[in-house]
């Protein structure tokens, strides 16, 4: 049995994105899931599989009762925050391909005001070993990733302009996407270079948004997918990645901290694919911080190690460039929903319905968070 093209995403759905939405997470989750099922033309009572993040506040029982799902025979939750986004789809694909279920829904619903924000609470331990970092004032994810970013810039000569290129590409795509939080807010180099620091060398625009919102997608087997109203978007390859001796966002404690989970996920992803990084038309790369993008470009094989910064030069990440990324605006400029909007945007590109459409796109890489145990998907509309 192989996962290759055995399943397809046939429905996507989302709520509006905003800094604050009035409805609670459970209601938002219900709305996104029902929208995705409606998009797929599949009745809720046909759903027999669910997948989400361990950090998801709405559990399967609540969701299934509320929207009237059928009997569930597979349900899975993936850990490590934004590292789990693509794995939710991967788990459903594996379940459907192996006969454990037939119709799967993956979802993420988030409100800024609830759920774990461990760095604001002195009594809660981060999953990383807090005793070795927090007393010294390394408190937030931004601080932890800034440490790797500084080392990365030092070793390879990457610059703030390279990070700006990432922020700008995401913002430019958001400026084309009416659903994006930053739709009407252009970004300039001047704004970037003079913005306030969050944790040097990362400034305000290197950090993702804080967003309320929910998204979902629907996965079925390839035969069933052909009967659905939208172009099937096949899961061509899927991978999770937790490298030997990896240490999460404080990955300072192994031989080679600047090669992270992306490298591990990529090896498995490409091993099972019929195409190569050079064949990828568009990518949705997890961007909680700009610096994760150059690392991911290296890890997923778009350039050599240390070249992720220079890869971003010359408009490479823009529409028409070598690798257009985050065409809905990404976590930096569309919405930060732990990467689920990147999955749905990947589907939109392969349906030809993105607000920043890459002409004739047939392949899309979607990645989850680099810097934590991660996951990735290769999607295609060819089969």
């Amino acid at each position: 049995m192989t996962l290759k093209d055995a399943t397809a995403i046939v429905g996507i759905g989302r709520t509006p994105f905003a800094k604050h939405l009035a409805e609670d997470e459970r209601t938002l989750a219900c709305r996104a899931v029902l929208a995705a099922l409606d998009d797929a033309g599949i009745a809720p009572d046909e759903v027999d599989a669910l997948a989400s993040y361990t950090m998801e506040e709405t559990d399967e029982v609540e969701l299934a009762k509320a929207v009237g799902l059928g009997d569930l025979t597979f349900f899975s939750k993936v850990g490590y925050g934004g590292g789990g986004s693509c794995a939710t789809v991967a788990h459903l694909a594996a379940a459907i391909a192996s006969g454990q279920a037939t119709v799967g829904v993956a979802w993420r619903s988030r409100k800024r005001g609830s759920g774990p924000r461990p760095w604001t609470n002195t009594t809660v331990q981060l999953p990383t070993p807090a005793q070795w970092t927090r007393p010294f004032g390394l408190l937030r994810p931004a601080d932890e990733i800034a440490m790797l970013t500084r080392r990365y810039m030092h070793e390879y000569g990457a610059t703030r302009d390279h990070l700006f290129n990432v922020a700008l590409a995401c913002r430019n795509r958001a400026n084309q996407n009416p659903a994006a939080i930053m739709y009407d807010r252009p970004l300039t180099r001047e704004m970037y270079m003079t913005s306030r620091w969050i944790s040097e060398p990362l400034c305000l625009f290197d950090n993702c948004l804080e967003t309320d919102g929910a998204l979902a997608c629907v996965l079925v087997g390839r035969e069933r997918a052909r009967d659905c109203p939208n172009t099937p978007v096949y899961v061509h390859s899927a991978a999770q990645g937790l490298p030997a001796q990896h240490h999460g966002m404080v990955n300072y404690w192994n031989d080679d901290p600047l090669t992270g989970p992306a490298w591990t996920a990529a090896r498995h992803l490409w091993k099972n694919a019929d195409f190569t990084p050079q064949d990828v038309d568009v990518a949705q790369i997890y961007d909680a911080f700009t610096a994760l993008v150059p690392l991911s470009l290296e890890g997923y094989g778009f350039c050599e190690r240390g070249e992720g910064g220079s890869f971003t030069e010359g408009g490479a990440l823009e529409i028409g460039g070598r690798l257009p990324i985050n065409t809905g605006g990404g976590g930096l400029s569309e919405a930060y929903v732990h990467g689920f909007n990147l999955i749905d945007e990947g589907v939109r590109q392969l349906r030809g319905t993105s607000t920043a459409q890459v002409p004739d796109a047939t392949t899309c890489l979607v990645t989850a968070g680099e810097g934590v145990p991660t996951s990735a998907l290769l999607l295609t509309n060819r089969s």
């Binding site: 604001t120 070795w132 004032g137 931004a142 601080d143």
Partner: protein
């Protein structure tokens, strides 16, 4: 300021630090140093460990300068520095800490503009916490 939230495996590090000693967990069978401490050696799978004294000399591997929003005690000191130090005798053992002007000085006591990757530092102790000063 936050106190280290200790666990059983890491507790000896803090007990030695309270005496002004920097020690790193090592495998008592194959001798491999490991950090952060954990129950078992990933090289030989031994559960026997010892705490080996190290020189306290090292080099700055990387550093950040956090700015608010931060927990109140840290916001009051921001911008301050946090450094990662690789130990002289075991560069793959890296400790997170603060570069300060002198033992007991606050974590904003040194101009962040003076910090350089590769700079030599050595350990001092204040209230049971290791700190680092320029060597």
């Amino acid at each position: 300021m936050l106190e280290p939230v200790r666990d059983a495996t890491g507790a000896p590090f803090w007990q030695y630090a309270a005496r002004g000693e920097l020690r790193v967990q090592a495998c008592a069978d194959c001798g491999e140093l490991r950090f952060p401490p954990r129950p078992c050696c990933p090289h030989c799978r031994s559960f026997e460990a010892e705490w080996r004294p190290v020189s306290g000399r090292g080099r700055i591997w990387s550093y950040v300068v956090p700015h608010p929003p931060l927990l109140p005690d840290y916001a009051a000191r921001a911008p301050y520095n946090v450094i990662v130090v690789e130990l002289e005798e075991a560069p793959r053992i890296r400790l997170v800490g603060n570069l300060v002007a002198a033992a007991g000085a606050a974590l904003d006591s040194l101009d962040p503009g003076r910090i350089r990757i590769g700079a030599r530092v050595h350990v001092v102790f204040s209230d049971g916490l290791p700190q680092w000063v320029p060597a």
